[in-house]
């Protein structure tokens, strides 16, 4: 087996992985980045809308500050987030937007003078300030008090990813694409790298690294209908969970985006509503103001998705062969706006839906979109359970999103966390004296090789990988969706337990020399079922409603019993995860309260006064983060 040595190993080459890799390479560390696909094909490239950062240059963002951004983020999370992390994020986001501008991102800029903007379908005039000319502009997104989302038309992910990738080229980051990490190498205390399978040749390769980053994005493909790319199968979370030592945080916190298109599930950006688009029902009636008089279409995503589902349940959805949907109307924004600032939306509608959004309505419905949960890390991005293992971006539960993340906050998180955690990783790597015991490499290699032999020979059973995947999809769609209840969740847990058992007996239906794509699927399914089970079981046990986690049988947000984060471990040999809980936040700079949208009742918590004090150490750390 080929063995590569490196200082820093980044598994995943989307925005978070690349930002960490740039940090490490600029600090002079050897850096290898593994990716399923060439880095620029990572799912970050599909992010359309933008990145939230309180620059306050746009007139509609006038008076914005990291404090306001912090408060929006905490409210958005329904007080489920780690407030120290949310604070680091809000305070350093403006710096990171300027930094990537310095590196080449062509952000849209402020054009001084009078402009016609739209809110809730109605035009209004606003005058951009002359002294802000040429600074980074911002658009509106849901759940925010100010226009704060920095953008490059509706190709923000693409342009920032391209820029970071150019920096990876410049600073000599080694890219091994078409590589799938199959297992972490560790000695029970420290992570030493990973065993990866080459998707060109099918060979196994070992990577030994002083520090290892998991930045593999979300695990949306446990659902049948998702906006996520085909590669978002949770590969990084799976190898962490498989160690039995590293827990997943808040896996039940799953976001459904209001505007997945029907029938393809391809996303159209929240920027459509931010720029003034509205949601209409079967009677072409704009219904959101009835539910959310203040924020309407621009309440947080969990709220809008719930309201849309409620409205369709009243029989006011549009019937189609693909099930009920609603309409997104952006026609009033006009041809120029749609073909420039919403160009990707225009392309998606015309190419995939046969709809011209300049003249026609876009069929949409809430669709699985984002995983707030993931590899649980501390403030510095270090994974619980193994030294030398880090995680950043959607794959991590860092945890600035809690139970609902705001649009524009996750794309910003990738680079903001990438910079902050990248610096912590560089510190760790420079201070570490690793010893790579070859027996651990052999152990990990043997485990992967044995699984492959099991699957190829069928010596454990004759289960079909695609069939198990389809059954997992069906149960997740049916029982672990937007509205949840104990009975359905129990049904899902039971079914997933059965699927987990069957997933250990998978056998290939084909043979193929070298790389067999069926083996790639077969190797993933067991882990995907585990992630699905962590999601379903966490949701079953959490008997409250918070953010995107909505229990019809427990409609209150229960701060008394559930102001906490679920930690799901999967112990060696177990058939079910073990759940533990930790406090949601080390302290509450913003005390638990009302979000100001979404309605609902809260069962309060009497927190002791010291929980509202910001510790000196946190203040010091924040100062350091801004350097």
């Amino acid at each position: 087996m080929q063995i590569h040595h490196t200082d820093v190993l980044c598994i995943g080459a989307g925005l978070a992985g690349e930002r960490v890799a740039v940090e490490a390479a600029m600090a002079g560390l050897n850096t290898i980045m593994l990716s399923l696909v060439p880095p620029r094909r990572s799912h970050s490239s599909a992010a359309q809308g933008g990145m939230q950062a309180a620059l306050g240059n746009a007139i509609m963002g006038d008076g914005d500050s990291p404090d306001v951004h912090f408060a929006d983020t905490v409210k958005g999370s329904d007080w489920g987030c780690d407030q120290e992390v949310a604070r680091i994020f809000a305070d350093t986001a403006p710096i990171v937007m300027r930094e990537v501008a310095h590196w080449g991102v062509p952000w849209n800029r402020v054009v001084p003078g009078k402009h016609t903007y739209y809110k809730g379908g109605k035009p209004f005039e606003a005058e951009e300030k002359a002294e802000k000319a040429g600074l980074i502009h911002a658009r509106a997104f849901g759940g925010t008090a100010k226009w704060r989302t920095c953008y490059t038309a509706d190709g923000t992910g693409r342009s920032v990813l391209n820029t970071l990738d150019t920096k990876c080229l410049q600073y000599g980051v080694t890219v091994h694409d078409r590589m799938q990490a199959e297992a972490l190498i560790h000695d029970g205390e420290t992570c030493l790298g990973c065993i990866a399978r080459c998707l060109r040749t099918g060979e196994l390769v070992a990577y030994l690294a002083t520090s290892t980053l998991i930045a593999t994005g979300g695990y949306g493909r446990i659902y049948k209908a998702t906006t996520n790319a085909v590669i978002c199968d949770g590969g990084g979370q799976i190898i962490a969970l498989d160690t039995g030592l590293v827990p997943m945080g808040n896996m039940e916190a799953v976001q459904f985006h209001p505007t997945g298109t029907v029938p393809t599930d391809i996303l159209v950006t929240e920027g459509c509503r931010g720029d003034g688009g509205t949601l209409l029902d079967v009677n072409l009636y704009r219904f959101m103001p009835d539910y959310e008089p203040d924020k309407s279409e621009l309440a947080s995503r969990d709220v809008v998705s719930r309201r849309m589902t409620e409205h369709m349940r009243k029989g006011l959805g549009v019937k189609s062969p693909y099930g009920d949907h609603l309409w997104l109307d952006i026609r009033h924004l006009g041809e120029k706006h749609i073909t420039t600032k919403l160009r990707e939306v225009y392309d998606i509608c015309t190419n995939f839906l046969g709809v011209n959004p300049i003249h026609q309505l876009i069929p949409v419905r809430p669709t699985h979109h984002y995983s707030m949960g993931g590899v649980r890390t501390n403030r510095d991005g270090a994974a619980y359970g193994l030294k030398g293992l880090f995680s950043a971006g959607e794959s991590a539960c860092w945890d600035m999103h809690g139970f609902n993340r705001l649009g524009g906050n996750s794309l910003a998180e990738t680079v903001v966390a990438g910079r902050y955690i990248g610096k912590r990783m560089v510190e760790y790597t420079k201070g570490a004296t690793p010893s790579f015991g070859m027996q651990y490499v052999d152990d990990a290699h043997k485990k992967v090789q044995e699984r492959i032999t099991d699957i190829v020979t069928g010596r454990k059973g004759k289960e079909n990988a695609f069939k198990i995947r389809d059954e997992m999809h069906d149960i997740m769609m049916e029982c672990v969706g937007i509205f949840r209840n104990g009975k359905d969740l129990q049904k899902a847990v039971n079914k997933l337990e059965e699927l987990y058992d069957r997933s250990q007996k998978i056998c290939l239906s084909s043979t193929c020399k070298g790389m067999n794509p069926e083996l790639s699927t077969a190797l993933r399914i067991r882990g995907m079922v585990k992630l699905a089970q962590c999601t379903a079981y966490g949701a079953l046990m959490r008997t409250e409603s918070r953010g995107a986690h909505t229990r019809e049988d427990f409609p209150e947000r229960n701060d008394k019993d559930w102001l906490n984060r679920t930690l799901a471990y999967w112990k060696e040999g177990a058939s079910m995860p073990t759940l533990e809980y930790e406090e949601a936040s080390p302290y509450y700079e913003l005390p638990p309260g009302d979000r100001g949208y979404g309605g609902g009742v809260t069962i309060p918590n009497e927190l002791p006064p010291e929980k509202f004090v910001i510790p000196e150490a946190a203040k010091e750390n924040l100062k350091k983060a801004k350097l």
Binding site: T152, N162, K167
Partner: protein
């Protein structure tokens, strides 16, 4: 009524000494708004899981699934079956190394050429000051740079390029467009001399035969033709800079690209 589609798919596994290149036929029942992504996924899930084909975003954004569709390079996810005849022939992109069936290695080629043309903003990264305001930029210029940053590196342009067919070291319209992106960008401090070094040769702008299929097949509609023209003129002027009067060079060198109106 929906048709029965016949897909003739190129099959070859370079890792298997017994494999020989051949065409294999599959039939698929068409349904409404079916794309080639859906048809090929169905074949892989239900008929032949060994079929090698790359998909990622399935929304025309990532550039993974470029292939030759009835003789023309395009994105499979972007192609609706209703726009094709009932018989569909699929080949892998030429020019790039074949990994198997419809899968080719675009990634290595784009990385290699990216290094060759130094496709990054040449500025002083260490000079970044976290407390300072960002450098101001005209919004039209930002839009113009983004227009060239929309490339998804799918490889369709290279697959359709007549020059690339004859000389494998041709950098192609995509690389010239990438250089143009940095030439436009005031943050990149490279001079005309530096750019000439990179693309002022037969591998670069002077190799292009001007057939322009690159622009015809670009799924993102990027103005490759204009960029080729602008860069070629800039390079040509540069190569005769000792001969032509300086004011003439200054007047025409940035015509047609954004610097012209940014500076006027």
């Amino acid at each position: 009524m929906n048709r029965m589609l016949t897909l003739n798919i190129f099959r070859y596994n370079p890792l298997d000494p017994d494999s020989t290149p051949r065409m294999q036929t599959f039939t698929v029942q068409e349904y409404d708004s079916m794309t080639l992504f859906i048809a090929l996924t169905q074949i892989r899930d239900e008929k032949d899981p060994t079929l090698k084909v790359d998909f990622c975003c399935r929304a025309g954004i990532c550039g993974s699934c470029a292939m030759v569709i009835n003789g023309r390079p395009g994105l499979a996810c972007h192609t609706q079956t209703k726009d094709l005849p009932a018989e569909i022939t699929l080949h892998p992109l030429p020019f790039f190394q074949l990994l198997g069936d419809l899968s080719v290695d675009t990634g290595s080629w784009f990385r290699k050429t990216g290094l060759q043309i130094e496709a990054w903003c040449h500025s002083d990264d260490k000079a970044f000051d976290p407390t300072a305001e960002e450098m101001r930029m005209d919004n039209d210029l930002a839009n113009e740079i983004f227009e060239l940053d929309r490339c998804i590196e799918c490889g369709c342009c290279m697959a359709a390029c007549g020059t690339a067919r004859m000389r494998t070291d041709f950098l192609g319209a995509v690389s010239i467009m990438r250089v143009a992106r940095f030439y436009l960008d005031p943050r990149d401090k490279r001079s005309e001399d530096d750019y000439y070094e990179v693309i002022g040769n037969d591998q670069g702008v002077f190799g292009c035969m001007g057939l322009l299929a690159c622009e015809d097949v670009c799924p993102k509609g990027i103005p490759l033709q204009d960029q080729l023209g602008i860069m070629r003129r800039m390079m040509a002027m540069h190569s005769v800079k000792g001969v032509l009067p300086r004011p003439l060079i200054e007047t025409i060198k940035k015509k047609g690209c954004c610097h012209a109106h940014a500076q006027s």
